[in-house]
């Protein structure tokens, strides 16, 4: 089945509160990002993402309720993941790679980064800072 036909989602402008997106199954999720009073995406929840997507197995959009049951911490205490943890070797290797790429020791980068003057930008800068913080605190030893 073509994904165009199986989703059937539509979005409707809601005065003052951004867009409301409805899945083909009738469930809906409010996207509150345009709420000028709150200025935060506080009501933007995972259900909104899932409602936009077709589901391969059933051919229907995933309902908010299904996602909530499947992934919410509030419904399943055992539903907790320990993500893969970076190893000390990976940490050292990735720090070395960044130091070579930007021709700068990590400590110097971190000082500059805290002052908003780092030569690295984007994901690289955030990763480098996180890697250095882990290394500096010898957390993984």
């Amino acid at each position: 089945m073509n994904s165009d036909t199986r989703l059937g989602a539509s979005s409707t402008a809601m005065p003052g509160d951004g867009i409301r997106i409805s899945g083909s199954n009738g469930n809906s999720a409010s996207i509150g990002v345009y709420n000028a009073d709150r200025r935060e995406a506080s009501s933007m929840r995972y259900v909104a993402v899932a409602d936009l997507l077709p589901m391969e197995a059933t051919g229907y959009a995933v309902s908010a309720r299904q996602i909530h049951l499947a992934t919410s911490a509030s419904t399943a205490s055992e539903n907790e993941t320990i993500p893969a943890i970076i190893t000390r070797e990976e940490l050292a290797r990735e720090l070395r790679t960044l130091e070579q790429k930007y021709d700068m020791p990590s400590e110097a980068f971190y000082t500059l980064w805290q002052a908003g003057q780092a030569p690295a930008h984007g994901i690289d800068a955030l990763r480098w800072a996180a890697l250095w913080e882990a290394w500096r605190e010898r957390y993984l030893i």
């Binding site: 867009i19 990002v33 995406a41 933007m44 993402v49 997507l53 995933v62 893969a84 994901i123 957390y139």
Partner: protein, 175 residues
């Protein structure tokens, strides 16, 4: 207000895995992570998704567990199109002190680099082959456009609504 609804980083990571590996499956061809970089009282989660149009989202979030809640202290979400175009939502470190509210210098500093901001541009590899591209669109050289605080969910919706229209066929009707 916290954007993360889960009471622990483990439960947040669990929901993230559900999103990345199950719910994005129709539009993703590869997923990496989340991988954790722990340090003292914080954990950084990083992950990546390659979508079926070869665009890529890389995310990194530094999280701290408070009592029954998780607080994001920094984040970065970088979405790259095969054309070289990218956008990058970022919140880095602590907010700048507000300074003197009557000072135009302090106000300018806040505007120049807002706490939560967005970069839009083209990656260096692309700008090198695109003649006439304005320099402010090169990598992260352009302005920091202030935004509200965003989340992975929000960024995914931005991508889905803007770049998967053909697949998902949205219809927007007037109010």
């Amino acid at each position: 207000m916290a954007l993360i609804q889960e009471p622990s980083i483990g439960k947040y990571a669990s929901r993230m895995k559900g999103l990345l590996y199950t719910h994005l499956k129709p539009i993703a061809v590869a997923t990496k992570g989340p991988r954790s970089i722990p340090a003292h009282d914080q954990t950084t989660l990083e992950y990546g998704i390659t979508f079926c149009d070869n665009s890529i989202l890389q995310g990194i979030e530094t999280l701290m567990e408070k009592r029954d809640s998780v607080e994001t202290t920094r984040y970065g979400y970088e979405y790259q199109r095969p054309s070289g175009f990218f956008f990058f939502y970022e919140m880095e470190q602590a907010p700048q002190p507000p300074g003197n509210r009557d000072s135009p210098i302090d106000a300018a500093a806040q505007i120049r680099k807002p706490y939560c901001h967005l970069h839009v541009g083209a990656q260096k590899e692309s700008t090198d082959r695109l003649d006439g591209l304005p320099p402010e669109l090169r990598e992260h050289d352009g302005p920091h456009y202030g935004t509200f605080r965003v989340s992975l969910d929000y960024v995914l919706v931005v991508i889905i609504v803007n770049y998967t229209k053909r697949t998902l066929k949205f219809q927007t009707s007037p109010s």
